[in-house]
Amino acid sequence: MSVQYKVVRCNINGKDVERVVDVRASLTDMLRNDYHLTSVKKGCEVGECGACNVLIDGECFNSCIYLAVWAEGKHIRTLESLLGPDGELSDIQQAFVDEAAIQCGFCTPGFIMTAVEILEAGKLYSDDELRKLLSGHLCRCTGYENILRAVKKTMYRRLGKEIDF
């Protein structure tokens, strides 16, 4: 086939950008190869593991099964957007460190972007609700309890509430 290209304009991590992309590219391909946002991991590439998860207009999507051309006009956020000006970690990233919710780190950016959506809802979720909200990610090292604890702690802290565990 002749290769087909398309201009895709979108906003990535607060910056308006524009790039010619191959229509066969997934959003993971575009974010990693064209924008060097390598927090977006290639895991299963079939929408099961959540390692490629990013926020699109405030909602979580597995970017591996999202066509790059669909990003036209969208606001996309990746883990890179969470760092402070001098590379400081955000509260949720620090919580993952504190709770030993990271080992190999492959699932971490995806998990953290889901956590960002959860935290930005500004709601106090129960453990069962948090488990369901985090269920689109696979972690093979630390197990899920530490991850759950990191998200829960940050949720309580942001809402100014005492932690009840």
């Binding site: 929408g47 998860n53 979580c60 999507f61 099964i65 999202y66 066509l67 051309v69 669909w70 689109g136």
Partner: protein, 296 residues
């Protein structure tokens, strides 16, 4: 990179119809959580795709001028669950699609894609059958509407006429179908997330104003046959009956008359028959309670 031959993008229903007529071999892609996965696995590799995902006119839930609930075919599962109209009039549909895949899948997956796949295990399908939904299709000859029961032809095949350039544009639930109805969906799966139903059961009831009688009961299953199905024998047992524990037993036992599950690697036919009875009883009980009734 996906192994696709070409990608055509429609931004309006008219463009989609024109593209479909111009490329009759092309596969329609909505959210892509099935099509792209199959393409990655090689099953649809090398195919042309027509993307309808960016037709924003096909998103959202409204009440139309005939008082139907109108769900645009590209409305995502998560938006259906969060929608105030769905929560008020057809909560069970929001609860059913909240059991699809994972949060990310529910943000990309669409109700149109879920039904156009024609698979019996689709979490929306049993509820849409139990609520006698209407499927709306648009093609070169205009708009066609048909009951969801007739839309499903056989496993994996639905009544969409590619030669007429048709795409699905909406799912409608008529007022007579949703008014004063309360339902419950049970999905039996081997794990809680990222799971395809071993069996899905959706029940809904409309009680008499004094709540003493079941005026109308409807039940449908997914994975109890090659396509989602209603269970008329069990419905006949419940219609006009008093809500009692004895009725739950009789209702559950009656589902065996109509369902036809198969043996598969997920579960045996005998196991599916066994859980079908129990799921019917539990879903009817919950539906009666949600409708404000009490079990004698």
């Amino acid at each position: 990179m996906y192994d696709m031959k070409a990608l055509y993008e429609a931004l309006s229903v008219e463009e989609a119809i024109a593209l479909r007529l111009a490329h009759p071999e092309a596969q329609i892609i909505a959210g892509g959580s099935d099509v792209l996965v199959q393409m990655r696995e090689g099953k649809r590799a090398g195919k042309e795709l027509i993307s309808i995902y960016r037709i924003d006119a096909l998103r959202g839930v409204t009440i139309d001028e005939e008082e139907n609930i109108r769900i645009g075919s590209l409305t995502s599962f998560s938006h259906i669950t969060k929608d105030p109209i769905i929560q008020r009039y057809c909560n069970v549909l929001g609860e059913a699609v909240d059991q699809v895949g994972s949060p990310q899948i529910r943000n990309i997956g669409t109700i149109g894609g879920n039904t156009c796949n024609g698979v019996t295990s689709a979490d929306s399908a049993s509820t849409l059958h139990a609520w006698e939904a209407i499927v709306e299709l648009a093609g070169k000859n205009g708009v066609r509407r048909l009951p969801i029961h007739d839309f499903y032809i056989k496993a994996g095949t639905v009544d969409i006429r590619a030669e007429e350039g048709e795409i699905q544009t909406a799912i409608l639930i008529p007022k007579a179908s949703y008014e004063n109805c309360y339902g419950h969906y049970i999905k039996y799966g081997l794990r809680n997330a990222m799971e395809i139903a071993t069996l899905g059961c959706s029940v809904n009831v409309r009680l008499s104003p004094d709540k003493s009688t079941i005026e109308r009961c409807r039940i449908a299953y997914g994975v109890a046959g090659p396509v989602p199905m209603r269970v008329p024998t069990a419905e006949a047992v419940a219609n006009g009956a008093k809500p009692t524990e004895a009725l739950l037993e009789a209702f559950g036992n009656a589902v065996i008359e109509d369902i036809n599950p198969r043996d598969s690697w997920r579960a045996s036919k005998a196991f599916r028959q066994h859980i079908a009875v129990e799921m019917a009883k539990r879903a009817l009980r919950e539906s009666i309670i949600k409708a404000g009734g009490e079990l004698a």
